[in-house]
C-alpha cells in the first residue's frame, strides 16, 4: 500500500515550482483526547513551526538534546526566541537536511557535540601550551645567540675575489661602534702580511689595499676591535 502511494506521488512531479515545507518539532507531555492531541507541548511545536524558515526543519532544545548524540542527524544552533504564550525563551536548533552540503557543513561544525567541543578546547589548550614552550625555548636560544653576537655585529666583506691588485675591504656595523678597528691580512701559516688601525667605525667602512705584491695564494682578512677579535673572511690572490 505504501509503495503504491509512493509510486503515485512520484509520477505527479512538477506540480508547482514554489512548493516548500516548514517543519517544527517539539517533545513534551501532551494529552490525547478523542483522536485529538492537546497541551502545552502541542502549542510549542506549532509556534516553532510558525517561525521556521521555508524548506527547513526547526526543533526545540528538548528535541535537540534527544538527537544530539545521533550520528545520522546533524543540527546547528539557530536562535533563542520568545514564543507567543510560552513562558521563557526557547532555544531553537535547525536540522541539516543535506549535511554534505558545504554551507551546512560549516554550520555542522559550529554545532559540534559538547564532547567534541571539549576535545577541541583541550587540544587547543595543549597546542597553545606547547607553542608557548617552543617559543620560550626559541626566545632563550635567540637571547643566547644575540648576546654572543652582540660584539660581533660587524659584517666584513672583501672584493673582488679572487683579486689581483686592489682589494676592497668593506665593513658594516650594526648598533655598535668599533672603537679601534684593526685589519690584518694573514697567510694560511698565520704570518701577518698586513696590519693597520683605522678611525672608529660607526656605520660603514670602505678601504682599499694594494695586494699586488702578495704571492698568489689564499689569505685571511681579520677584523679586530683593539685586541678583541671580531670577524674574518678569506680571499684568493691570483
Amino acid at each position: 500500500m505504501l509503495s503504491l502511494l509512493q509510486s503515485k506521488y512520484k509520477k505527479n512531479v512538477h506540480v508547482l515550482n514554489e512548493y516548500q515545507l516548514r517543519i517544527g518539532i517539539h517533545i513534551g507531555e501532551v494529552i490525547f483526547r478523542d483522536n485529538d492531541v492537546l497541551g502545552d507541548g502541542v502549542n510549542i511545536a506549532s509556534r516553532i513551526q510558525s517561525i521556521t524558515d521555508p524548506g527547513a526543519i526547526f526543533i526545540s532544545e528538548a528535541v535537540y538534546q534527544n538527537v544530539s548524540n545521533k550520528k545520522q542527524i546533524k543540527t546547528s544552533y539557530n536562535k533563542e526566541v520568545q514564543l507567543k504564550n510560552v513562558i521563557g525563551p526557547v532555544k531553537i536548533y535547525k536540522v541539516l537536511i543535506d549535511p554534505n552540503n558545504n554551507d551546512n557543513l560549516i554550520k555542522a561544525n559550529k554545532s559540534l557535540s559538547r564532547n567534541a567541543l571539549l576535545f577541541f578546547l583541550l587540544f587547543t589548550a595543549i597546542a597553545v601550551f606547547f607553542m608557548q614552550i617552543i617559543s620560550s625555548v626559541q626566545e632563550e636560544k635567540y637571547n643566547m645567540k644575540s648576546s654572543s653576537i652582540i660584539s660581533a655585529r660587524a659584517f666584513l666583506d672583501v672584493y673582488p675575489n679572487p683579486v689581483s691588485t686592489i682589494l676592497t675591504i668593506s665593513i658594516g656595523v650594526k648598533s655598535i661602534t668599533i672603537q679601534r678597528p684593526v685589519i690584518k691580512i694573514l697567510d694560511l701559516n698565520g704570518v701577518v702580511m698586513y696590519s693597520s688601525e683605522f678611525a672608529p667605525i660607526q656605520q660603514a667602512f670602505l678601504n682599499t689595499i694594494d695586494v699586488s705584491r702578495l704571492k698568489n695564494a689564499e689569505y685571511i682578512v681579520q677584523l679586530f676591535d683593539g685586541s678583541k677579535y671580531l670577524e674574518k673572511i678569506s680571499f684568493l690572490k691570483k
Binding site: 494529552i31 485529538d36 537536511i97
Partner: protein
Amino acid sequence: MSDIRKIVAIMFTDIVGYTKLMGIDEQKTLKLLDENKNIHQSIIGRHSGMCIKEMGDGMLASFDTASDAVTAAIEIQKECTCIK
C-alpha cells in the same frame, strides 16, 4: 473521557505560501495537497508515527521518539524537494 497523557514528539508541517498558491492555481494546489498528504502519510507511517490532524496545508503528527520525528522530517523535506 478517555484522556491519555504521554510524552511524545510533536511535528507540525505546513506549505509555505499555501493561500498564495491557491490564488495562483487552485487545481494544481489541490493536486499538490494530495501529493503532500501522501508523502507525509507514507513517511510518518514508516517511522512509527501517527498522523493526528490535517489542517488544510498543514499536518500534525506524533512520534514515540525525537529521532523518529527528526528522521521523518528530513525524509519529508527531501521528498518534497524531489517533487519540486
